[in-house]
Symmetry: C2
Subunit: 338 residues, 2 copies
């Protein structure tokens, strides 16, 4: 089985965007507030066909599927707006995962809001896991959208949410949203910077001493971390922590959203294979075909298949068994490992 | 000849730190303002002996030497404080480069200040190049110290400074300073994020169409860029720019401050060898000895020597001739290439 652990719903029905426009317009003029979102099953079903076609083409069996990352936009509007929008976005993911139950499993967004304690997210986290059957959640380490004025991930500010993640036994993927800072292109700078920033925060802190079962996925190959593995090992030691592997890598996993073979080779060379999860970030984070290879940049399965030093057992871990370990609730959705 | 293009003066005389304390204390109480800095030649000379010893040990002939990067702290105090501090810091670099003229060549900091037009830096830039013989300058893409509220590097806000850099034919190393944002560890997140951010800004813009001779060094191996080379190539194309190499790599150079062999291998594999400059970031950005190799993390020459696919000609470019091309004023200081 091949499990793509990082996919976003970027082919949403037009009605969702219309809803969002009206929701935000309603902040200025309550008369423009939207009616409840009403999308027929066939429209939801059809909307993910491009994704399904690519999955079939690439031999991917299952997508761990969450709302468009840039769409979360926790910095837009007050908490009540974030909460309404989050509920809508998660419910739509749930419908995809119900209509295409063999192909999609849900991961949710949270109703985060700048300056609002993350404990505000606990009811929605419980709902998506217990009622909607989601297996994980995207956690935005910078709900300000590129201003970075909220506390780091190791601050006790976040602890109530971590307690609930541990209790529910679901991992969090550390994933920012769109950027309202013109210095940071969202997919080209903000996403990668956030990955790097989060990892360094984990090095500086001792979060996993307090939460030994907490699991974080740092997407996009872990940002800059594998390329600077020596820097992070050195900084970890100079901060008088244990070796990097001992200090954070029992709890942190990187995905394979790295869009060229030499990058994937580096990832597989420096990061233990047990810490690597197959993912593509489909659809569209980095669209298009690489003129050098004639293949899609985001067809990351090709790169993994091409890494000569990986064994069949290594690939099996990357494609399936690591995901089952990090997302234990997957078993209830797609059956136990054969 | 082996030229280390990225070294900072991190073994400054204690008197410099005392001066800085008094300078900042003087903002609150003018009675505490410092007397002019007065450090005897032998103290300046002795202060860089640890650096010289490591250079000798590693077979490095020349260091391109600039003030401590985290010490620039452009976000601390108003512009007049930044200006006074910058003058002091640059003058001290000049003294090192005069007392040890065979071993050190100067690169300066600029009197940047948040919200102040970069054209304010032109007089100091002219002074350090024309009067002190410096061959380049460190340009802080975020003088706010991690708040990122000034315009991106492609904004016309920066153009007067770029005009002067081109006129003087000196490159700028894009280098942030310390972080006043608790989310960003300075050497572990802020530096690397700034490198990645600057590169993505250059992809989004068309700066080198306006300044075809402008040269930027993006240090620390280019941040996350080589690891995500496919992402940046894909984003460049999806933004309807030319291929990445054509769009920015005539004007952008990465250094080798990457502290493990697999990282250096990746850098040399994906980035053209003409765009790579040898550097160590000595002393102290990532201190200590790697317990796996028994060698210093920042002994980057070892990694370059160990990359099997580099030819002698490639290494000669990385160690010397690329630096001479990027810093043409080096020739006046250390003679033409043999």
């Amino acid at each position: 089985m091949i499990i793509d652990t990082h996919c976003h719903y970027t082919t949403e029905p037009a009605a969702l965007h219309t809803f969002r426009d009206k929701q935000l317009a309603g902040m200025a003029d309550p008369a423009r507030k939207p009616a409840p979102l009403d999308v027929p099953d066939d429209v939801v079903k059809k909307s993910v066909e491009p994704q399904l076609a690519l999955q079939r083409e690439r031999g991917i069996d299952l997508a761990i599927f969450s709302p468009r990352a840039s769409g979360m936009a926790h910095h837009v509007g007050p908490e009540a707006v974030s909460r309404e929008w989050t509920t809508i976005a998660n419910n739509l993911i749930h419908r995809v995962c119900t209509l295409w139950s063999e192909n999609f499993v849900g991961v949710g967004q949270l109703p985060q809001s700048p300056g609002v304690a993350p404990s505000n997210c606990i009811p929605e986290l419980e709902r998506i896991v217990n009622e909607l059957g989601f297996v994980g959640v995207n956690l935005n380490p910078d709900p300000t959208g590129g201003r970075w004025t909220d506390p780091p991930l190791t601050d006790r500010y976040w602890y109530p949410l971590y307690e609930k993640l541990c209790e529910l036994d679901v991992p969090a993927t550390i994933h920012v949203s769109s950027s309202c800072n013109r210095n940071f292109h969202h997919t080209g700078a903000h996403y990668i910077n956030a990955d790097t920033t989060a990892f360094m925060q984990l090095i500086q802190g001792d979060l996993f001493a307090d939460f030994p079962t907490l699991r974080f996925i740092i997407p996009h190959g872990g940002g800059a971390v594998p390329f600077h593995w020596g820097r992070y090992r050195g900084l970890c030691l100079s901060l008088k922590k244990r070796e990097l592997l001992e200090h954070v890598m029992h709890n942190v996993f990187f995905d394979t959203c790295v869009y060229h073979l030499p990058g994937i080779e580096l990832l597989a060379k420096v990061v233990p294979v047990d810490n690597i999860l197959f993912a593509t970030e489909m659809l569209g984070a980095v669209p298009g075909i690489d003129p050098e290879t004639g293949q899609y940049f985001d067809d990351t399965r090709r790169y993994i298949d091409a890494v000569g030093f990986l064994t069949a057992e290594d690939r099996h871990k990357i494609f399936e068994t690591n995901a089952r370990r990090v997302f234990p609730r997957l078993a209830a959705r797609v059956g136990a490992h054969a």
